[in-house]
Amino acid sequence: MDINSEESEKSKGKRTTQHQGQRETMRQFKYLILGLFPFIFSLASSPLYAAPKIEHWLTDNGARVYFVPAPDLPMIDIQITFDAGSARDEAKKGIAHLTNSLLDEGAGKLNADQIAEQFENLGAEFGTGSYRDMSIMTLRSLTDPALLTPALKLFALTVNQPTFPVESFERNQKQTIIAIQSQLQSPRSMINKAFFKALYGDHPYSAPSLGFEESVTALTREDVIKHYQHYYVAKNAVVAIVGDVNRSAAEAIATQITQGLEAGQAAPTIAPPAALEKGIVINIEHPSTQTHISIGQLGVTRDDPDLFALHVGNHILGGSGLVSRISEEIREKRGLAYSAYSFFSPMRVAGPFMMGLQTRNDQSSDAIEVMFATLKAFIENGATTAELEAAKRNITGGFPLRIASNSKILGFLGNIGFYNLPLDYLDSYNARINAVTLEQIKEAFKRRVHPNKMVTVTVGATPPAVKAATGFE
């Protein structure tokens, strides 16, 4: 998935997470590190365990379907992914997200109350989500026909016949504005917004998925209907199914939930973003006790030839939690931060490469310096043989964990479909990880990662003396 998934929190319905940090606290910020970590990168096959066999077909109207049977539990997970994320917003910033959030607010002859009550009466779970590349709809249900049949009917209605009632449109528009305002009290949201803006400039990835207060205020119900009609079409859709059904049942389900869609067209390709020509520093003042720091540049696409070398290299640099170099230097050696990491987020066109941490305001200059020094040493000298072996063992040895549940399998079916990865992507993954050499990592980092052309964003009470610490000094 895209990074910055908090942008779409609102559309997934409310959650009582407000004070989770108070009730339980963990040694690593897993949801931050792993939540941001591009999912497909954690897939690795191992000689011991074969990847699940993926079945693939097209519906009559052109939706691409990916299916894995999972007969152990009497349940099913379905995800429809549309190439309809905020990268498609054009001038109407926030339209993709708002449209996606309205899909269960009215459908066919049913209103929002009836849809919610009917799903819940069946014990079914409906969900939506909207990110930069994609907008998704999900259904989880038991496979008892008395429950599944009506749940599918209802789900199909929300996909095929949403009505976007005026009162729902107006309410969700207001709620979106409140969600945008609440981001101004979150340094993490603020820095994400500023980072993408600085890195992507005029590119469609620049704007946050929620949009801006002014742009959302200007949206109309007609804009929503237009967005839906244009992008929620069969040829722009990927259906992923994992659960206790056979192939013919899965075919019937895929047909049922997409047959009301126009065939339409796949969304056009997105122009690649332009790389920064020089380093940029942006300091945003915020009355927080910590300074949040994000440093980065453009990264990779899903089909980038350097993907594997950069992924394994980043795993060593800052992608493997507490054992990575960045975590070692920032946290383990110096105690500067609770969470320090780097990642490549591969997207349809170049997603970001980012390094990040948060530290007490008066330590921010030191932390930035250590971050750049760690990156530069890695580019200059590459990884060690021992590091490479350890990284390969972690990635490939962890393969069984990554396919150990229906929901995990569903996640990568969605990505394989959306990004048109080959069906044997998982089967060959292990071999491709193991084929990466020290030289390839060093060469790829040298050629692709440029510390002197990075954007450095800070959010905190006192701006760091960044000039002395940036990578281009």
Partner: protein, 458 residues
């Protein structure tokens, strides 16, 4: 139910939601040294999770050492006689595993998820640090700084977390749930390595722990492996603590929290029992009550307060029946555009009053129960979640066997019982109300300083 999504981060907030009867068997063993071993076989995938749960957490702490359980949890990765600092994580990583640890109010737990043949790697190191932790001064000095950063990240710079912290510490007078899990900043600043040594000696022994293993394993083989690694330890002397039952509240409490923020925020909490103090049906009725109000988009809060009346932009409900101490059933929310904290509080109170005066409908209860039955199956998609449920129940002094009866007990709850607990507990004299009053965030626009122009680069 909406609260289940929190499990990974926030187990104490979630209800124990359950198992169906065809659930695979759970095997329970006791080592001679008092370590309880619980194994649940789940053969869906060739993976295993191992968790060690210690009966210690922030509710065991007292003023002056708040946060010590959590700092100790961090230090558990900082070396034993056998393994250097950081080696634990490196070895698990090289075995393709993922690992973490978490501290709650009533527990501290450590876990590793691995391909099934690697379970022994986890046992060897986890058993080692159960008794042989080194607690080096130089490592403590760094790690307590990391924890302070964690506190800044989670609490100091998060207006809602700050509000919750003040709210809990106001609601509870003598019940230790008033202390923050991560500890007060002043206590962290004054913590020393001796505090940790004492704490480790007091609580880290096999007879104060439960080992939970779920996955593609043979229970008997796991038991033998546990004997081999954990069985070498002697039984320890475990400290006892006083009950610290909450002093009776004598009227509604209200507080204001001022912090830099954009939006106001409301928290309301009623003191309610948990399964520890009230073993009968009442906690189950409170659980169903919470779901009637807020168990999904079709429940009362979303339907009436968010959609129909548009008083709340968002609203949440929290109740956890598995706790060592009595707890709060709490509501929190942000007013919708054009609404205020006052109108939101009034609307929530109206819904509470309605529970006093009017029975929940059969349709509402049927909906809650349908969700519980389905969730019971969905949860089995995750071995992590299955192990969490067992571990929490055992560690708060209940039993994993309660999972077997959970669905039935929820289904048995009647509208009258919901009304009874509403009238008994959801009353003003049991209530604490906190309001976040946003203080201005400096609106200085982003200072975009272009540096590194011509002449600087090379």
């Amino acid at each position: 139910m909406l609260r289940k999504s929190l499990v990974a981060l926030c187990a104490s907030v979630i209800s124990i939601t359950a198992w169906a009867s065809e659930n695979p068997a759970v095997h329970e063993y006791m080592l001679d040294n008092g370590l309880k071993v619980i194994v649940k076989e789940d053969h869906r995938a060739p993976v295993v999770i191992s968790q060690v749960w210690y009966k210690v957490g922030s509710s065991y702490e007292h003023n002056g050492i708040t946060g010590v359980s959590h700092v100790l949890e961090h230090m558990m990765f900082k070396g034993t006689e056998k393994h250097a600092p950081g080696e634990f994580s490196r070895i698990i990583s090289e075995n393709g595993g993922s690992e973490n640890a978490f501290t709650g109010r009533d527990y501290t737990a450590y876990f590793q998820q691995l391909e099934k043949s690697r379970l022994e790697v986890s046992f060897e190191m986890e058993a080692d640090r159960m008794r042989n932790l080194k607690l080096l001064d130089e490592e403590f000095a760094k790690e307590v700084q990391v924890v302070m950063e964690e506190r800044r990240l989670r609490t100091e710079d998060n207006p809602k977390s700050l509000t919750y912290e003040q709210f809990a510490s106001t609601a509870f007078v003598s019940n230790p749930y008033g202390n923050p899990v991560i500890g007060w900043m002043n206590d962290l600043e004054n913590m020393n390595n001796d505090d940790l040594r004492k704490w480790y000696e007091m609580w880290y022994s096999p007879n104060n722990a439960t080992l939970v293993v779920v996955g593609d394993v043979d229970a008997e083989a796991v038991y033998q492996l546990a004997k081999k690694y954990y069985g070498v330890h002697q039984r320890g002397t475990v400290a006892t603590i006083k009950p610290r039952i909450e002093a009776p509240q004598k009227g509604e409490k209200r507080l204001l929290v001022k912090a830099p923020a954009e939006l106001p925020y409301l928290m309301m909490g009623y003191k309610v029992p948990t399964l520890t103090s009230e073993g009968s049906w009442e906690p189950y009725a409170l659980e169903v009550l919470a779901a009637v109000l807020d168990g999904g988009k079709g429940a009362r809060f979303e339907k009436l307060l968010v959609r129909e009346k548009q008083i709340a932009a968002n609203i949440g409900t929290s109740y956890s029946m598995a706790g060592l101490h009595d707890d709060l059933l709490s509501f929190s929310g942000t007013p919708a555009q054009g609404q205020t904290i006052e109108t939101l509080e009034f609307a929530i109170r109206e819904q509470v009053q309605r529970l006093h005066h009017e029975l929940a409908s059969e349709e509402e209860l049927a909906r809650v129960k349908a969700q519980v039955v389905a969730t019971d199956v969905y949860q089995r998609d995750s071995i992590y979640y299955q192990a969490m449920q067992i571990g929490i129940l055992e560690t708060v002094g209940l039993s994993w066997t309660m999972l077997d009866s959970y669905v039935e007990r929820i289904r048995a709850i009647t509208p009258e019982q919901i009304q009874t607990v509403a009238k008994k507990y959801l009353i003003d004299d049991n209530l604490t109300v906190a309001t976040l009053i946003p203080q201005p965030i400096d609106k200085t626009t982003a200072k975009r300083r272009m540096s590194g122009g011509a002449g600087h680069g090379h």
